[in-house]
């Protein structure tokens, strides 16, 4: 609001935002400090702020009791399949809906829109039965396949294709390009920012999702959130170990976020959160 405000305004604004930021970050600091404490110290009343002795025993307990690489691999594998699947399938369908006329287009797009608005719990029972009948329970495909398809992603990409002026295609058509070449060489590259936003949002849901992986894969091939939630049953009140585990499980996405924050913010701003 204007750039003419006096200096003390800036100081007040920074003070308010700073206090808020401390409240946002404090739980993370507390979490990190706790990981270096002994179990006894983590339960001290009143609590100590800094660990009396910095110990990495909690991390050792976490690494010996949790198959971290297997969990990490599963979470990452699911993420790659979901993101890759959505980027390909959603942009193909979005181009079809945006640029071709065919009987039933309105009706079919309407089906996508209904799926966009329905809460995901409506699909879970039947998706579970399907995965069970395909003998896919407790496998990566069971966790990843439903999330490869997205009405939301199709909708988002369709908006991006519609926003591209038709002149680009007309010129390329005159040069003899077919529909596939138009899509792949000319239009898809122009939707880059939307693709990035969709990829980032899908990564976020995929990495954080608990309910569906818990339902279809909670025995052998678990994702990080499922594995971590089981750890809680095992280490009920060993908070240093739980804090170490939750820190390690969260770090990969937090690091990606700090590097790609522009894309995260663009994704959220263009679409809001929808799982």
């Amino acid at each position: 609001m204007g750039n003419t405000q006096p200096r003390h305004h800036q100081i007040i604004i920074h003070a308010v935002l700073g206090i808020g930021a401390v409240i946002m970050v404090a739980p993370f600091i507390w979490q990190i400090l706790t990981t270096f404490k002994t179990v006894t110290e983590s339960r001290a009343v009143p609590p100590t702020i800094l660990p009396a002795v910095w110990s990495i025993a909690a991390y050792e307990r976490f690494f010996t009791s949790v198959p971290l690489w297997s969990l990490l691999g599963m979470s990452l594998g699911v993420l790659v399949v979901r993101v890759g699947g959505q980027l390909v399938l959603c942009s193909l369908a979005a181009y079809g809906f945006a640029r071709f006329r065919f009987p039933g287009r309105g009706l079919l797009f309407g089906v996508f829109l209904v799926m966009l608005m329905a809460p995901s719990q409506l699909f879970l029972i039947s998706q579970f039965d399907l995965m069970k009948s395909l003998h896919l329970l407790d496998t990566l495909p069971a966790i990843a396949i439903p999330g490869m398809f997205s009405a939301f992603g199709t909708f988002l990409m369709r908006q991006a294709f519609i926003a591209i002026p038709k002149e680009f295609e007309e010129a390329a058509r005159l040069d003899g390009a077919n529909s596939w070449q138009l899509f792949w060489r000319i239009l898809l590259p122009m939707t880059g920012p939307t693709l990035a936003a969709l990829g980032v949002l899908t990564s976020l849901y995929s990495w954080n999702d608990l309910l569906w992986p818990l339902i279809v894969a909670s025995n052998k091939h678990m994702t990080l959130p499922v594995g971590l939630s089981l750890l809680q049953g095992q280490y009920g009140t060993d908070y240093p170990t739980l804090m170490a585990g939750s820190l390690i499980a969260s770090l990969p996405l937090i690091i990606v976020f700090v590097i790609l924050q522009r894309q995260f913010f663009a994704g959220i701003a263009s679409s809001g959160l929808k799982g």
Binding site: W30, V258, F265
Partner: protein, 304 residues
């Protein structure tokens, strides 16, 4: 020119067919998945909600009995109450986010740093968020009670006490949803023309007056969007209850949300028909509340 027109005229039936074929080809892969994994399951859930169906798929048609049971089931009543409390409290994140987004828009340095700080909980694993807060809320040695005792307040066992647990979870809900709202509202703020503020300054309007007369009204479309998303998201909350309250907690029966109850009935107890009825009820509630919000927007949302 006329000749070309005739040729195009003759080509048309063929090219229509061709256009349709290519169009179908592009949407086909996604359509197959959407129909098999979303449309069909939706229809099947609607059907199951009228049956008594166990884990092994043995189902008998029982008409509206599941829905009749839902209405009289006190567990569903408490789940509705918990979800309603959570949804309403998390809406408080919106006014807070408006203020923070407006302040971030004004800082000359450090805006990105603030955005990152407020957004951190959004990118943190919800399971991890739940664990950290369960620790902070611990009645015997939690950080919150230690801080409260400094100002002479004797804290509770926040997530083990049935009377306060859902409120404690809701406070975490606010903390995790600020980031999203701040980003969406911040994008809305950028769309407000700067010269409006300059004109208002010339007319002698101070910062508060400018906020009330320019920022707030022009931000209402974004505020509306955020509140619709917030209600839809809050009604589907599961993770925080699963992690912060947990199965063996005496507070669970008083704090479980609609989706937790759905998970419990459909997948833990294996009562598919009843679970399906809960899911359909959730759909109806979300549709009704979203429709009400769209109806009410005419009264307060300003489309300039």
């Amino acid at each position: 020119m006329a000749k070309g027109g005739v040729a195009a005229e003759r080509r048309r039936p063929h090219s229509h067919l061709r256009e349709a074929t290519v169009g179908y080809a592009f949407i086909l892969p996604a359509l197959v998945g959407i129909v098999a994994l979303y449309l069909f399951p939706l229809i099947k859930t609607a059907y199951l909600s009228f049956t008594k169906t166990g884990v092994f798929g043995d189902s008998t048609f029982i008409g509206g009995a599941n829905y009749a049971n839902l209405v009289t089931d006190p567990t569903f009543g408490t789940a509705l109450r918990s979800s309603a409390i959570y949804t309403v409290i998390v809406l408080l994140a919106i006014p807070i986010s408006i203020v923070i987004a407006a302040l971030i828009a004004q800082v000359r340095h450090g805006a990105t740093l603030y955005r990152i700080a407020y957004f951190l909980p959004v990118v943190t694993l919800p399971v991890a968020v739940g664990m950290v807060w369960r620790f902070i809320y611990n009645g015997d040695f939690g950080l919150l009670n230690a801080l409260l005792s400094l100002i002479g307040i004797d804290g509770k066992a926040w997530v083990a006490d049935p009377t306060v647990a859902i409120f404690a979870v809701s406070a975490v809900g606010i903390w995790t949803s600020l980031g999203t709202a701040i980003i969406i509202l911040g994008a809305g703020l950028q769309g407000i023309p700067q010269d409006l503020y300059e004109a208002a300054s010339l007319d002698g309007a101070g910062p508060l007056r400018q906020f009330r007369s320019i920022t707030l009204p022009l931000l209402t479309p974004s505020i509306f969007f955020v509140s619709v998303l917030s209600v839809i998201g809050s009604l589907q909350m599961f993770d925080l209850i699963y992690v912060m309250i947990g199965r063996n907690n005496p507070a669970l029966s008083q704090s479980q949300t609609i989706v937790y109850l759905f998970y419990q009935k459909a997948f833990v107890e294996g009562n598919r028909g009843y679970g399906a009825a809960i899911a359909i009820a959730l759909l109806l509630i979300i549709m009704a509340l979203t429709a009400i919000q769209f109806r009410l927007q005419k009264r307060w949302v300003f489309y300039g």
